[in-house]
């Protein structure tokens, strides 16, 4: 078995690891797609109160609506029907982004095509097609208190996505704090791009081989945790 073929972390594990960092009372905005898996983790920490914000103006919504109980007027950022929680509030789109620009969102979790070692990331444009899909990503990336990224470590052809410098147009410069990939957990610090936790069976050398960015190995490097210490 070559290094690249070793078992990797599941998307749920990647998102669980990021969600573990959410603190009680945080306002959290989850991007469409993989990041929505973060909400599953919170069932394992019921004492943590997380307030979910969605760019279409919902503050404090609950899980996906069970079949037959959908309210056609209540959807999340992905257009999925969710349930209302007690205390939920609705605002219009301009106020929803006012919440974002004011810096009230404690963390936004997004997917990405590329992340660079200085914390730039790219998730809105691929070169083969004109235009891009920005949605609320630039407002969130530029203004949320923290940006976490969940992303596969390599492209389908094996090329690295964790780079010295993004090759695609960036969504925001220098904002990524924490990155979970299927190979581990990485923190972007003032010193550089730090490997904090690794997937089971992956050595720092194995991970560096799949990474263009230069890794700093944390002194307390450990296998990835998916439950609080």
């Amino acid at each position: 078995m070559t290094t690249a073929d070793k078992p990797r972390l599941s998307r749920q594990t990647m998102c669980d690891r990021l969600a573990m960092e959410f603190q009680d009372g945080w306002i959290v905005n989850l991007g469409v797609g993989m990041p929505t898996l973060c909400s599953n983790y919170l069932e394992s920490e019921p004492d943590k109160e997380i307030i979910f914000h969605s760019e279409n103006g919902v503050i404090g919504f609950g899980p996906l609506a069970p079949a037959g109980e959908e309210d056609r007027h209540l959807v999340n950022a992905g257009g999925q029907n969710v349930v209302a929680l007690p205390g939920m509030a609705i605002v219009h789109h301009a106020d929803s982004f006012g919440i974002i620009r004011k810096g009230m969102v404690d963390v936004t979790v997004m997917g990405a095509y590329e992340v660079s070692e200085n914390g730039d990331f790219a998730n809105w444009r691929i070169p083969v097609r004109k235009g891009g899909g920005i949605g609320g990503a630039m407002d969130l990336a530029g203004c949320a208190k923290r940006v976490f990224i969940a992303m596969e470590h390599n492209q389908r052809n094996g090329a690295p996505r964790v780079l010295k410098q993004c090759s695609l147009p960036i969504t925001a410069p220098g904002v990524v704090k924490l990155l979970a990939t299927d190979l581990g957990l990485f923190e972007i610090t003032e010193d550089g791009f730090v490997l904090r936790e690794h997937a089971p069976g992956w050595s720092p050398e194995d991970i560096q081989e799949q990474t263009e960015a230069e890794l700093i190995i944390a002194d307390d490097l450990r296998e990835i945790r998916v439950r609080p210490a």
Binding site: E55, G79, I134, G135, G174
Partner: protein, 232 residues
């Protein structure tokens, strides 16, 4: 008090002209004025500029994509000019890639705030969104209290095609849950605001003044969606 209720969707948009700009709300397929968009489609006006979060979805329901496919739109101003998934090749994506229509890509919060600026008589504003990206290139930058912002201008329109839950005959509007999305700011930003109403159009006084989401002075025309109308 002026009665703004129109008998049907076609008469409510009959004076829309070629070359006009229209706003179409909606997010995640909720809160779009599908009946009014269908009426604009029937009217056949051309060379329109559309302002909307996205430019149509993959399903068969009437949305902005219906007007784009009918070649009634020359330009879209929106937050998505490429699909979020490569399989979602809408008529807009195809035509934009073939240079058959123009588009301006705007971050969603900036799009919303530009509408609010138009609605609120603001000449321009500075926002931190998009700083350091390709989208900020060529725009005026300014540092305020140590943070960098870009200058953005208001986004007005000739028509707003609005979906509300409830209205009174004077045009006071209420929305339900995430149906609200872009509806209030578009209703307040446009010159002519036309509203299709889901539940009921009641007499003035029946909506508690404290519970009005858009005051009737912004609203010009109302049409009740019939039982067989196009719902979300």
């Amino acid at each position: 008090m002026k009665n703004k209720v129109f008998p049907d969707f076609d008469s409510a948009v009959a004076d829309m002209k070629d070359g006009m700009t229209f706003m179409s709300p909606g997010f995640g397929n909720v809160g779009l004025a599908r009946n009014l968009l269908a009426a604009v489609h029937r009217l056949g006006v051309k060379d329109l500029t559309g302002i909307s979060n996205n430019a149509g979805s993959m399903d068969d329901r009437v949305d902005v994509g219906t007007l784009i496919e009918a070649r009634q739109v020359k330009k879209m101003i929106c937050a998505f000019t490429a699909p979020t998934h490569p399989s979602q090749i809408t008529p807009f994506v195809q035509m934009y890639n073939d240079d058959e229509l123009d588009a301006e890509l705007v971050p969603q919060g900036t799009l919303a705030e530009r509408m609010r600026a138009a609605a609120a008589g603001i000449g321009a504003f500075y926002t931190p969104a998009s700083v350091g990206t390709e989208l900020a290139e060529g725009k005026e930058h300014r540092e305020i209290n140590g943070r960098t912002y870009v200058l953005e201008y208001p986004l007005p329109a000739d028509f707003a095609l609005i979906r509300a839950y409830r209205a009174d005959t004077f045009g006071n509007l209420q929305f339900r849950l995430t149906q609200r999305n872009f509806n209030p700011i578009m209703a307040m930003a446009a010159d002519i605001t036309v509203v299709e109403v889901e539940d009921s159009i009641v007499e003035p006084g029946e909506i508690d003044p404290d519970c009005v989401h858009v005051p009737g002075i912004y609203v010009d025309r109302l049409v009740k969606i019939p039982e067989d109308g196009l719902w979300d």
